[in-house]
């Protein structure tokens, strides 16, 4: 253990750290991916890597919904927002995400009516208040968020709101994990499974990771102790030669997820044949759109969108960061050309993005570490 920032449960964390260290086989290294951006945030904020032995490496995964939106989709949304009759509504996290030609904030400054909302239901309310305008909700998020969009569409239909539609960018977590497992440049020993996604989908859908790829996965909570505890559970599985799906976060995540949410999701949304993920390219059956019965509320059908694929800037290495191949600070523009104020890539925008989390917390730790560690 090197340089440790104190937090509430530091004592328990040290005890867990000792157990983790004791479980590591001499000479063996362990590489675990935390799939969810919320985990990445906790890991950097609390300096959890300092509690882990050198043998255990955490790599950051693709589970930040803002980070995986490709540039072309931002451009498409802006093209819709530029129509005079449109009010585009979006979560605050999307506002700075760069597209091929600027972000929502830039488009807003140039006159487009783009408004931040907390909930898709706030967007619905704006639609009710402005019957003369077209209100479009920019839907992003994994299975955690998609059911909320689905309920909102159901309400819009029940109310007969003809001026509301959804620009759907919901993505699903399993194909992304599969793409990473299939990627030749990544060798992983196990996964920390996403906490909130699992409240909806449950733990069973991860089974293929254990059965077909022989990797353990532990669904993990977001507190520092949850993450350390989950790493301990992964190491225990490896030590026993087991390979299972386990639920560390059972106080929030039911094993079978939320069947009501899954049903609404399945009624209103359907899988797209393929979808582009920033940095990961096209992944088949990895995203959702409105199903045929709700096509009237699909902004992609209501408005013409350019739908062009925009290549990421050459300097941007978000793809490698999202796959966990590169650490944030290994990107050439990290902290120089790319900062949270002037992001080049998406991972720098959302607080759950690996680059932003590292920029906000890890960087200072690293500087201090370099200062305090005797050479």
């Amino acid at each position: 253990m090197r340089f440790v920032d104190e937090f509430r449960d530091a004592e328990q964390a040290r005890a867990l750290a000792a157990r983790i260290a004791a479980r590591c086989e001499p000479g063996r290294t362990y590489k675990f991916m935390e799939v969810c951006g919320g985990h990445t945030h906790t890991i950097y904020q609390h300096g959890l890597e300092d509690y882990l032995p050198e043998q255990v490496e955490l790599v950051h995964g693709p589970g930040c919904p803002v980070c995986v939106i490709p540039m072309g989709r931002v451009d498409d949304a802006i093209a819709i927002a530029k129509r005079p009759e449109v009010i585009l509504t979006s979560f605050g996290d999307m506002m700075r995400v760069p597209g091929g030609d600027g972000s929502f904030l830039d488009a807003k400054a140039a006159g487009a009516d783009i408004r931040m909302v907390y909930s898709p239901l706030d967007a619905l309310k704006i639609a009710r208040q402005h019957p003369d305008r077209q209100v479009v909700f920019m839907a992003i998020g994994f299975e955690t968020t998609a059911p909320s969009t689905a309920v909102t569409v159901l309400r819009a239909k029940a109310e007969g709101l003809a001026n509301f539609s959804v620009f759907c960018n919901h993505v699903t977590i399993l194909p992304a994990i599969k793409a990473i497992l299939d990627s030749p440049d990544q060798r992983l020993d196990g996964f920390l499974g996403p906490g909130h996604v699992s409240t909806v989908i449950g733990c069973e859908p991860y089974r293929f990771i254990a059965e077909q790829y022989a990797k353990p996965l532990v669904v993990a909570g977001f507190e520092p102790l949850d993450i350390l505890h989950s790493i301990d559970m992964l190491l225990a599985q490896l030590a026993d030669g087991r390979c299972e799906i386990e639920n560390q976060y059972s106080r929030v995540v039911p094993w079978d997820g939320n069947p009501t949410a899954l049903k609404v999701l399945g009624d209103v949304l359907e899988l797209r044949p393929f979808f582009e993920w920033r940095g990961l390219g096209f992944i088949s059956h990895s995203a959702l759109r409105l199903s045929e019965a709700y096509a009237d509320f699909d902004a992609e059908r209501r408005f013409d969108v350019p739908g062009v694929r925009v290549a990421d800037p050459q300097s941007c290495q978000c793809g490698e960061v999202l796959k966990g191949v590169l650490k944030p600070w290994e990107c050439k523009v990290f902290g120089t050309a790319c900062t949270p104020e002037t992001p080049i890539g998406t991972c720098m925008v959302s607080p759950e993005g690996a680059c932003a989390a590292y920029y906000n917390f890890g960087r200072f730790r690293r500087q201090r570490l370099l200062q305090v560690t005797p050479r």
Partner: protein, 90 residues
């Protein structure tokens, strides 16, 4: 946006059974409980709130622990709470 904020259900709205009043750190807000079957969420329950929807039922001890943790996040939590407060869903 991916944070879940704990709140205590103080009232199920009789005229709109898909909505509930919750108390989040002393602030009352309406949230949607349509991701649960009618009757599954009742007054006095604690829920994790995500984008204006009850996402998961939790117990009070978890709610307190989750709240302490969120406070430790600083800005990310403050922003989420400000956004929740600005929301007036109905």
């Amino acid at each position: 946006m991916c944070l879940g904020i704990p709140g205590e259900v103080v009232e199920i709205m009789t005229d709109r059974p898909d909505l509930a009043q919750v108390d989040v750190s002393g602030v009352r807000r309406a949230i949607n409980i349509g991701l649960f079957e009618p009757g599954e969420i009742t007054e006095g329950d604690w829920v994790l709130i995500h984008v204006g929807f009850a996402l998961s039922k939790i117990d009070e001890a978890e709610a307190t622990a989750a709240m302490d943790f969120l406070k430790s996040l600083g800005d990310a939590y403050a922003d989420e709470l400000t956004a929740l407060r600005s929301s007036t869903i109905d």
